[in-house]
Assembly symmetry: C2
Homo-oligomer: 233 residues x 2
């Protein structure tokens, strides 16, 4: 596949961009990495994703695909026979479960995490981060079940759809912990998830893709300030 056939429009700090990058790495695909300016949004972004105007946008020749879970499924289907590992399970029920948990993570994790980050008072912050911890507790149950069946990752002995779907947020969790001076991913509460996060971070398809914590901390501080400025108090 010629490099210029595959293009990814994204940003280094975007967990959703990371998802696609990890999936492309798993599949061993080369691609053009196009950096989105984001502030302000580029004409390319506005034209290629007119519905959401959000990154990542993936191009495969003249085909444009948006929304990270959908892009990952697309990559997995198109390059299912190139010798690389599959990302979603082939079994229909396991596949349904993988989709369920990724949708759950996107539904229940991102908003409370963001709200906790921009919360200006202790009580409000605590309330939002309690919801984040509830997500961790549920995922602890899921990864524990995997571990009990001898599997290191949600995807089994290799990282898969849930690993990518949740793992992309781990750098943001670490950065949030540093900024707020709190512990979110706590090994006394979710030991299996902490162990999973460590194994995920050093996986060859992940390393170098997810942002380095200190670099992200600086970005997140500016990101939070912009959100605070834009949010009615």
């Amino acid at each position: 596949m010629a490099t210029n056939e595959l293009k990814l429009l994204g940003c280094w700090f975007s967990p959703f961009t990371c998802r696609v990058q990890i999936a492309l790495n798993i599949k061993g695909l080369e691609y053009d990495n196009i950096v989105e300016s984001y502030y302000p949004k580029s004409d390319l972004l506005l034209q290629s994703n007119p519905v959401y105007k959000k990154i990542p946008v993936f191009s495969h020749g003249d085909k444009i695909i948006c929304e990270s879970p959908i892009i990952v499924e697309y990559l997995d289907q198109v390059w299912k026979d190139n010798g690389a590992p599959s990302i979603l399970p082939s079994n229909a029920f396991d596949r349904a479960m993988a989709r369920f948990w990724v949708a759950y993570i996107d539904d229940k994790f991102f908003n409370p995490m963001r709200s906790g980050l921009i919360a200006q008072d202790e009580e409000s912050m605590k309330k939002h981060f309690e919801q984040v911890e509830q997500v961790f507790m549920r995922l602890e149950d899921v990864i524990n079940k995997c571990n009990n069946e001898g599997m290191e990752f949600f995807g089994g002995d290799k990282i898969g759809y849930i690993d990518i779907g949740f793992g992309c947020y781990i750098s943001w969790v670490r950065a949030t912990e540093k900024i707020k001076g709190i512990k979110l991913l706590d090994e006394t509460k979710t030991p299996a998830l902490v162990k999973w996060a460590e194994a995920f971070a050093v996986h060859p398809a992940v390393k170098g893709v997810v942002p380095e914590t200190n670099k992200l901390v600086e970005f997140v501080k500016g990101f939070v300030q912009r959100l605070v400025d834009a949010t009615p108090q």
Copy 2:
């Protein structure tokens, strides 16, 4: 497939339950229809969907699957070779597009629709229903493109994933129009979508599944009152 192998826990008024019923009809599958009491939620619902505590819940033997888009994909994968039509396109890009639009509909349509229904002042109602109309305008473009290629439905010459994903809401649109005395699905603005909605409603897999408008009007009035009572003004 023995009837008692397949069970659907749902409600007649739930658009999400309707999605699964239509998919089961397309696949020609018999199933036990278990009526959820919902007010209050049954023990069966709380036990079988502890994460969301929402209908529909689909059981295939001892396998339990929640969330209507995920259930529909599951049905399509498991019964892909039973002679019935497929629900999702087989082509990876068309599949990605189908997932994109159903996710868009669930993201952008349901909340404004609900907010418009419970809005107590004209201005607020108008604002929410304008968002609903924006969704219609986008879908008008999509169905127009299908029509121009000689296809009656989003799914081609047969109903598919987007048809089910959006069609399940049409009865709620009709009921809302009656209750509020307004026109939402307007043939002067979205003629192709209006024509599509008529063809969808009389499709053999749909007829008898989606609620009859007058019956739904009575239910929606009570539903709205409960939401209004529960919403801080």
